[in-house]
Amino acid sequence: MASNAASTVIPANQAPKLNYLNNGHTLRSWLLTTDHKRIALLYLISVSIFFFLGGFFAMLIRLELLTPEGDLLQADTYNKVFTMHGMIMVFFFLIPVVPAVLGNFLVPLMVGAKDLAFPRINLLSWYLYVIAGVLFLHCMLNGGVDTGWTFYTPYSTVGSNTNVIEAGLAVFIAGFSSIFTGLNFIVTVHRMRAPGLTWDRLPLFIWANYATALIMILGTPVVAITIVLVAVERLFHLGIFDPRLGGDPILFQHLFWFYSHPAVYIMILPSMGVISELITCFSRKRVFGYKFVALSSIAIAVIGFLVWAHHMFVAGISLYAAMIFSFLTFFVGVPSAVKVFNWTATLYRGSITYATPMLYAFGFMGLFTIGGLTGLFLATLGIDVHVTDTYFVVAHFHYVMVGGVLMGFLGGMHFWWPKISGRMYPEGWAKLSALLVFVGFNLTFFPQFILGYVGMPRRYWQYPPEFQVLNVLSTAGSSVLAVGYLLPMIYLLWSLKYGPIATDNPWNAAGLEWKTSSPPPTFNFDETPVVTWEAYNYDEIPDVPLEAPVAR
């Protein structure tokens, strides 16, 4: 593998071309940039900080659950810890991670544009994220919140004596950051495509982010107003969700899940887009059924808006409503299955290379399939009543959100790292970390399916001793997982300085982003590209064997 390294390394005396990274080195040139690529890196740094913070709270949870007694944390502290873990991971990591980092970097490159349609709004969206994040950190250091990430009323309005309003305000502001990202993506895809880049030639990553942006625009304002109502109810003692004043807490759950269920698709759709890119590139084939994969993203976005009440089967909604939502929940599984089947069909007779991004893609397919299929268990009314609020649910959504989203994100980060940084990552370490993540993940969360099925409820700091073996397995897995997540951060930072210099197209991939230099110039392309081919025309690209361009 190392043999090919020499050819990819540019002699040191040759000055690097002017690109977006060396075009200005001052702090000001970063903090006031309107370059979508720099904003993507700002987002990468800030979401990584929140990821490790959320991970820290996750480790506290796992350590507490190592023993049946409540010894490390008391009940109140435990409530705050799982709330902090949930809020940070959902609102400050999972929702922005793929669209705001990879999407921001790649959407203009993939559509052949110089930037997103509204570069200043893009920068504003990062600042809103930072303001929200700082506000949330302030809230955390002032004692935190204990409502759970769902802000359920009436506990959040009349019960809890923690900083609910401040946390709500942080989530509200982060929501506007997300709305602006979505707005930018939709306008960019509609108005900024390069000549010849018709809708049926768009990369599937663009389709996925377009569908995500639709959800961001249609869903986020609803959770924003819901949180405003919770805040004014706390402040002014209004009764909108308070049953003692004629209000209805179930209405809160409807409004909250109207956004927060589609938010799951905000998280997973962009990762699905990444996987489509990885699978085609590393099996050197056109994607099987392009139109079905593209439209399945839109179908997920649309049907995803009609399933929210499956979070409320035991909350007191009518049986007939529950039956309809159960049916629709099965129905939203169809477009997800279309994707998985089409990826599998793409692999068939492909010429597959097992580079690190592809390992993550395989990991995604396995974990997402388990997460998706257990979703069908939960859509079944009878089973849902049995396992509601148990670790079965916890395991299910971690398989989708962590197994799915993070596998997609890490796969995408490795795949596009040469484009982002101009350097290759160390393949050996990367393969090791992909393996650690996969093994650690399954060891952490698979036991939780069993725990939930035999009746361990979520959100408790103590449990009966007979659950201990499985909890120890889960905690052991989480430490393997932690190493698996820390490694890429270390070697990717290392590769910024010591990694072999990347060529413009190290994977011999088809997308427009590979037709400019690595790293790209500030305005992406020296000349606006004209597209005359369909996406993933791998049968027209000479199949240079992928002698992993990667070296050590």
Binding site: L183, I186, R191, V222, G239, I240, G246, G247, L251, L255
Partner: protein
């Protein structure tokens, strides 16, 4: 591209002025969609509680002044007309006329807010503001028949009244600030017949805020007044 180079308002990443204008316009319409979803949550809550507590909502509605509400509705409709005339003046490149219509629009917006302020004051005086000092006495329909009302449910009506009109008033305040800024820039000659997109998009925002009021007025003041 060369002949566009001297065109001052064209941002670097657009190929031509038309693309820039189309992008800004689509972006504004999408933003209006988010506004509709934002208010939609409250309209949804209103709908559900009106069905659940019909008598209390009818009684609460009777406490609002149709005269002031109708006056404010008229003010906003006139302001929408002045916004249209402002856009037309911008299109024709009449700077002073444009500034005039923008200023009149702001004044109409402020009129609305002042009237709203008097309405809120009246609610405070009559203890119709939700909270510890809320009180609500029984009401009578047109035939003098007593309508039994649970004060807690009437409080819910006023909670929604303040949440919805308050959020609308906040949008009016933002709109007045926005139009003041547009008027200053227009006075300085930033806009021309070839570039007046901000006037158009500001106008779209103003119209949306007006339309939301056009729905709030009948829902809160008019319907279910006579049960």
């Amino acid at each position: 591209m060369e002949h566009e180079a001297h065109y001052p308002a064209l941002l670097h990443h657009f190929a031509d002025a038309q693309q820039q204008k189309n992008a800004a316009s689509l972006g504004m319409w999408l933003f209006l969609v988010t506004e509709i979803m934002f208010f939609g949550g409250m309209f949804c809550a209103y709908l559900i509680y009106r069905l659940a507590h019909f008598n209390a909502f009818a009684a609460g509605s009777q406490q609002l002044s149709i005269a002031l509400g109708a006056f404010n509705t008229a003010v906003l409709i006139v302001s929408s007309v002045t916004v249209v005339l402002a856009v037309k003046a911008a299109e024709a490149g009449k700077r002073k006329v444009l500034v005039g219509y923008l200023v009149v629009t702001v004044l109409l917006g402020l009129t609305f807010l002042v009237v709203k302020g008097f309405e809120y004051r009246e609610k405070f005086e009559r203890h119709h503001v939700p909270g510890a000092s809320f009180s609500f006495t029984d009401t009578f329909d047109d035939n003098g028949k007593k309508i039994p009302v649970n004060p807690k449910e009437a409080e819910l009506f006023f909670s929604l009244y303040f949440a919805m009109t308050g959020m609308h008033a906040l949008h009016m305040i933002i709109g007045c600030g926005l139009f003041t800024g547009l008027a200053i820039l227009a006075w300085k000659g930033h806009y021309s017949p070839s570039y007046y997109t901000p006037i158009e998009n500001g106008g779209l925002y103003w119209h949306l805020v007006d339309i939301i009021w056009i729905y709030l007025f009948p829902l809160l003041y008019l319907i279910s007044r006579h049960s």
